[in-house]
Each structure stands twice: as C-alpha cells, then as structure tokens.
C-alpha cells in the first residue's frame, strides 16, 4: 500500500464505515456493533502501521499558500495510534453499555466519525486542513452529547458555543499566522515571537487548550459528565480531545513558534496551567458525584500538561507529553470504572454508593491502579510524568512547583475520598444485589490498567521510544549536552521525597477527615477513650482539627471562587443570549410594518451612498 493511500484510508475509512453503519436498521444491533468493532480495529491497524514511516502528500489547492498537505511522522503516528487504541477499547466497552440506548447507531457512527476526524487533524500538515477536522470534531462532540438524555441539549449547546468561540480564535490565529508567514504549511513554519506572532500564538493556544479542556473553557465538561453517555466521556474529553489539544499545543510550542523559556508566553502558559491545576482540583474535591468528580480532574490534569509544555525546557516538555498519554490512560480507565458502577449499581451519586468494592473486585482493582496513577503514586505511570513536570517547573520557578505539588496533594485527597465513599464503607441494602460488570466492559479497563503499570514500571520504553523522538532536534541536542536523563527513576531525590510527603499528607488528612466526619471508624473509639491517651487525643484533635478545619474552610472559599468562575462562564453564555434577545427586541420594534418607513430607510441610505460617491 502506498503511503498516500494509507493515510487517506486512515482518514476516510472510519467515517465511511460510519455511514454504512447508519444504514443498518436498528433491529440489527449486533450487526452494527460488529461493524463498529471491525472499523475501530481496522483504524487501529491502519494508523499503527504508519509507525516509522516518513512521508508527505501534497494536493495543490488555492495556489501556493493553501496546499492541502498531509504528513506522516513519528508524533502523528504516536498520537493517532493512541487515539485509535482508546477508540477500540471504548467501542468494546460501549457494547454492553449502549446496548439499550435509543441512539445506538448514532453513538457508534459519531465515534467512528470522530476517529476519522482525529486522524485527519493529526496528519494535517496545513493549518487550514487542521482547522477543518478540528471543527468537524466539534460537530461530533455536539452530536454525542445531544444523544444523551432529554435535557442534554442544553449542555450540547453550551459545549458547541464555548468550543465554537475558541475555534473561531483558532481561525483568527491561523489568519494571523498566514499574514505573518505567508504560508500555512506546518513544516515550513517557524515563527519568531515578534510583531503579531505573540497574538497569533495566544489565539492558537486558546484553540488548543480549549480542546484539551483547560480552564476557563472547561465548564461544559462536568455538565457533559452528567448528561452524556459515559463512553463519550472516556472517549472524547478524557482521551481523544486531550490528545489532540496537547498535540497541537506541543506543535505550537515546539516547532511552529520559537518559544523560549525567557518568553512571557511561556510564563503565560505556565500560569494558565497552574491555575487550571489548582482551581479544578479544588472543585473536584467538593463534588458528590462519581463522574462529575472525575470530570473536574480531567480539567485539572490538563493543567500539568500545559505547565510542562509551557516550561519550554526539555524535561518539562517530555513530562507534559508523557503526562498526556498517561492521563488519557488512567482517566479513561477511571471513567470506565465509573460507567461500570453506574451500570451495575444504577447511580453515580456517592451518597447512595459505598461498600461495593467487594461485589465488584475487578472494577475496584482497576480503580485503585488508575487512582494511584493519577495521584502520582510510584511505580505507576502518573508518578513518573509528574516528576518530570515538577523538575521542569522547579527550573522555571518555585511557585509553579509548589502549586503543582499542592495539586498532587489535593488530587490524592479527593481520590481517597472517592474510593472510600464508593467502594468501601458500609453498603446500602439496595446495593446488595450488585454484581461485577460484564466481560466486555472489564476487558478495556484491565487493558488500560495494565498499560498504567507497564508504562510506569518500564517507563524507559514510552519515554525513550515514543516521547523523546517527538521533540525537535535542537531540544534533544540541548538535553543531551546537559546530560539529562528522562527515563528511569527520577534523578532528584528531594522532589521524590516532597511527593512522598504530599501523598502521606493526603493519607493523614483523609484519615482525620474520616475520623471527624465519617462513619465506620468507631473501631478506634476504645483507644480514643482510654485514660491518659484521651488527653493526648484531645490536644491532638484540637491541634490537628484547627488546621484541618481552617484548611477545609479556606479550600471552601477557593472552591467557591472556582465555582464563581464556573458560574461566570455560564452567565456569559446565558447572558450573551439574553443580550442578543434584548437587541433583537429593539430591531424587531423598528420593523413596524409601515412600508413608507421602509422606503425612507432605503432613501436615506441611498442619499448617503450618492453623496459618498459624489465626493
């Protein structure tokens, strides 16, 4: 197969099969499912075999500056393979989950369409072509949310409008790039950050981080977590959109622009990253719903990637990119466990869950692996990527490092809470009949959890084979001359110790929280009440209670602030709608139905035109 045909097939095959799928009547659900699995597998096979290839396809169009060009190279192969892998796993997972859903066919068709669009976006070597596929994904996102339950329309609209606006920023950024460089072919671009280029960078960055789900463009994701079918969450916001967003961000930072650590844009990215980490995780901490909590983490974790890439130093970039692939794994795994719990226990409300770990041991095990991974517990993959990000952040400023560690602490705390509330503790009577999820749902979870361990224990493989080749030559050379090692155990023991302290702190904090507010810890009461020790505990309680409460109160304020930002976002969307309605009333009032008035408008405008022309 020629490379040309290969790539075109990778872009067109899945969407074409999606159309075929839509033609299958809804009676033949199994046939649809089989076709979807076949298509997702074929897609994975197609993109996986592009590894190691280097080729370009040029379709001249609109003269020299708008060639439609596609390019196969290491980064693209890697990102599309990852996306295709998640696509296949989520497809498998959907089989039992979506079986009875009314929009069964649309779900699979939109998934396949998204896969084709994602391949197209990554293989594009021209910004315009990228924009085409990028906005195409916007359409499928809209569709996949909208097929959720009856009220999902509102969320879908919110997603469409927020992403639509950021995609317009992307479009303007592309126009600016074009004005500056007179080319849109990505391999020919290397813009110094001067003149209009920073504006272009910021606009393009908005497009990229919005797709990645960063603050302040995130607010539709938690809503979608409630409204959209769970496979969608694992599929688009948790994995594919994140991969794409960070892919574009890395292309921007690494080779489309000459981003240096000295540049204020680098600092801007780090600030955006840090703020996203902190605010989103604070929001996550107070959530009472399994999927909603996860979705705020999906926002928070993207902060690490932006932070890592924003450092503009090799180690940070490697960390950010490694975190991208790790996050896609553990977050989709977490959403899959969430979906399994939802399907088996009938709810994702933490108040009505609890104690189902025994009933669903495999799901619980997968949850533990993924949760440990997201919290940065060694030796899972999240630990290694976070350490790399920390290293890069510390190089640029202690404050960024501290925020990142604080984020880690809070992440761990919130997952302890989540795991405890959902899987441990007393079990509600109605959950006694809960059984383990079916095999088709467990298989993807297990595969991904396995990868979390594999990428952690054997991190040399992903880092050296997959991530480092993504860096441009000059950065690799820079790292080599500095003698930096990316893979293996983190080189800086102080950082590891700090991480360990943060995790331990989270554990202790959780223990105290549970002790003070939780149930099921009465077993410790007799120690507490024993003479002598009681006085110590009282003091200890008072001593520990205060900072805890203070902290909780403080974090509540933060959380409220984060909530305000969230609401402000909503308000803006709704408020703009109101403003438009208000303006509309004004315009409509002017149309009185009086023909003479209409003619007079025309005459007045005509007078202006005549006078203008007569000058």
């Amino acid at each position: 197969m020629t490379p040309t045909l290969h790539i075109l097939l990778a872009i067109c095959l899945a969407p074409a099969l999606a159309l075929v799928l839509l033609l299958i009547p809804s009676r033949a659900r199994s046939l649809r499912e089989a076709l979807a699995v076949v298509a997702a597998t074929a897609n994975l096979g197609l993109v996986a075999t592009t590894f190691g290839q280097q080729s370009r396809i040029e379709l001249p169009w609109l003269g020299t500056s708008f060639d439609l060009s596609l390019r196969v190279y290491h980064t693209a192969s890697f990102v599309t393979t990852a996306a295709a892998g998640f696509g296949l796993l989520v497809t498998l997972y959907s089989l039992p989950f979506m079986r009875k859903h009314s929009a069964h066919g649309a779900h699979y068709a939109l998934m396949l369409l998204s896969l084709g669009m994602a391949n197209g976006a990554v293989f594009s070597n021209n910004l315009l072509l990228l924009l085409f596929f990028w906005e195409g994904l916007l359409g499928t996102t809209y569709g996949m949310i909208a097929i959720g339950h009856a009220g999902a329309f509102k969320t879908a609209t919110k997603a469409l409008i927020i992403s639509g606006i950021t995609d317009l920023c992307l479009m303007l950024g592309i126009a600016l790039v074009w004005a500056q460089a007179h080319t849109l072919t990505m391999t020919n671009l290397r813009l110094p950050l001067e003149g209009m280029a920073p504006a272009a960078f910021v606009l393009l960055m908005i497009g990229a981080i919005s797709k990645g789900g960063s603050m302040p463009f995130h607010s539709w994701i938690p809503d979608a977590a409630v409204d959209a079918p769970t496979p969608f969450m694992a599929f688009l916001p948790a994995s594919i959109e994140k991969l794409l967003g960070i892919y574009l961000l890395s292309r921007l930072a690494l080779d489309l622009f000459e981003l240096t650590p000295q540049s204020w844009l680098s600092t801007l990215m780090m600030v955006v990253g840090s703020v996203t980490i902190l605010l989103a995780v604070l929001m996550a901490l107070i959530q009472k719903d399994y999927k909603r909590l996860l979705s705020f983490h999906a926002v928070s974790q993207v902060g690490y990637m932006i932070l890592g890439i924003g450092t503009a130093v090799p180690i940070g970039i490697v960390g950010g990119l490694f975190h991208m692939i790790n996050h896609a794994m553990y977050k989709s795994c977490l959403f899959l466990t969430g979906g399994a719990v939802e399907r088996q226990a009938g709810s994702t409300d933490l108040a009505s869950l609890g104690g189902i770990g025994r009933k669903m041991p495999i799901t619980f095990a997968c949850f533990i692996v993924a949760a440990a991974s997201i919290s940065g517990v060694p030796p899972f993959n999240g630990f290694f990527s976070k350490e790399l990000v920390y290293d890069g952040a510390l190089e640029r400023g202690t404050i960024f490092y501290l925020v990142a560690v604080a984020g880690s602490f809070l992440t761990a705390a919130s997952f302890l809470k989540l795991g405890h509330a959902a899987f441990l503790g007393p079990r509600d009577k109605k959950n006694d009949g809960v059984r383990e999820a079916p095999g088709a749902m467990l298989f993807p979870m297990l595969v991904i959890a396995g990868f979390c361990i594999f990428f952690g224990v054997n991190n040399a493989f992903p880092i050296d084979q997959l991530i480092v080749p993504m860096l441009p030559e000059h950065l690799i050379a820079e790292a080599r001359s500095a003698g930096t090692h990316f893979s293996g155990w983190p080189s800086n023991p102080t950082l590891v110790a700090m991480t360990a302290a943060a995790l331990l702190g989270a554990l202790i904090n959780h223990g105290f929280g549970v002790k003070l507010y939780g149930s099921g810890l009465h077993a410790a009461d007799h120690i507490h009440d024993s003479p002598g020790l009681r006085w110590v505990y009282d003091r200890a309680e008072r001593r520990w209670f205060d900072p805890y409460e203070l902290f909780m109160r403080g974090s509540a304020y933060f959380a409220q602030a984060a909530n305000k930002i969230d609401r402000a976002n909503d308000w803006l969307v709704v408020g703009l709608g109101r403003l438009a309605q208000f303006a509309s009333r004004g315009v409509r009032a002017a149309h009185t139905g009086n023909t003479s008035a209409y003619i007079v408008w025309s005459l007045i405008a005509a007078t202006f035109i005549v006078i203008y022309l007569g000058q």
Binding site: S596, V600, L603, A606, T607, V610, I611, G614
Partner: protein, 165 residues
C-alpha cells in the same frame, strides 16, 4: 427663441400638472391630472425628436393607464374626503423631513450631472433599427412581461369560482 419659450412653458405645465395630481382631493381629478401629465410628457418627447416613444406614451400611459385607474376607482369604495385630509395632514407632519431629503438626493445628482453636459447635436439613428438590432433582447423581455401581466390578470382579477375545491 420662441421654441425655447414654448419648451419652458411645457416644462412648467408638466410640473404643475404633477403637483395637481398630487394635491387633488378627489381621486378622479388626480387621475385626470395624471393623464394630463402624460400628455405633456408626450409633447416634450416630440420636442426631443422621439416620435415613436411619444406615441407609446400617449396611447399606453395617457390611455391605458387612465383606464386602469378608472376601473380601480369604480371597483373600490369611495374615499371619505374628510378622513383623507386629516390623515394627509398627520402624515405630512410625520414626514416633514422628506421633501428636503429628497431634494438633497436630487441636488446631489444635479451637482455632478450639470458641469459637463455634452452638446452634440441630435443625430438620427433610427429607433426601429435600434430596437431590432441591438435591443431585441428587450423585446423578448417585453413579450415575457406581457405574458406575466396576463397571468397577473388571471390570478388577481378573476373571481374564485365557488365550487372550486
């Protein structure tokens, strides 16, 4: 010199007739004034060496158009003259700015139009030749317009038959 005076008189009458058509309180008089305006246009067209157009103007505008208006007036309820006067006054008050605006539009045109008037003498290119050689597409258009007009009459004037579904 005499020719010029005749022409000036005709122009003045033309404007006066138009004003009369506008100011007449009775609709019937307005239509008569319109016909008179048409006649003056006809005369002016003759003065401008355009006999064929003049004949058309006379037959179609002064004749057919007046007939159509008379038909319309007889088929509709007569106006209440007092009400017409009141509403006219009210509307004139509301649209007070229009005459200056329109005159501004006209003057704007005059300003650019007048400075370079070409003064070539009238050359005789035959209208029939022009119509049949360079403007025959317009003739095709005229035919289509007349067909469309016929359908207009059929659709808009004909009473709907009661037994039609």
């Amino acid at each position: 010199m005499n020719d010029a005076i005749v022409e000036i008189a005709m122009l003045v009458t033309f404007v006066l007739m138009a004003l009369w058509a506008v100011l007449a309180t009775k609709l019937l008089r307005a239509v008569v004034a319109l016909a008179a305006t048409s006649v003056l246009v006809t005369l002016l067209l003759f003065r401008l060496d355009s006999p064929l157009a003049a004949v058309f103007e006379l037959s179609v505008c002064a004749g057919l158009v007046s007939a159509i208006f008379l038909g319309a007036i007889t088929l509709t309820q007569p106006e209440n003259e007092a009400e017409v006067a009141v509403s006219a006054k009210e509307r004139i008050r509301r649209y007070w700015y229009l005459p200056p605006l329109l005159l501004l539009l006209g003057v704007a045109l005059l300003q650019v139009a007048l400075p370079d008037v070409p003064t070539t003498a009238a050359a005789a290119d035959d209208v029939r030749k022009v119509l049949w050689t360079s403007r025959h597409l317009d003739l095709l258009g005229q035919i289509t317009v007349l067909v469309a007009g016929a359908f207009g009459v059929i659709v808009l004037f004909k009473e709907a038959r009661k037994n039609e579904r």
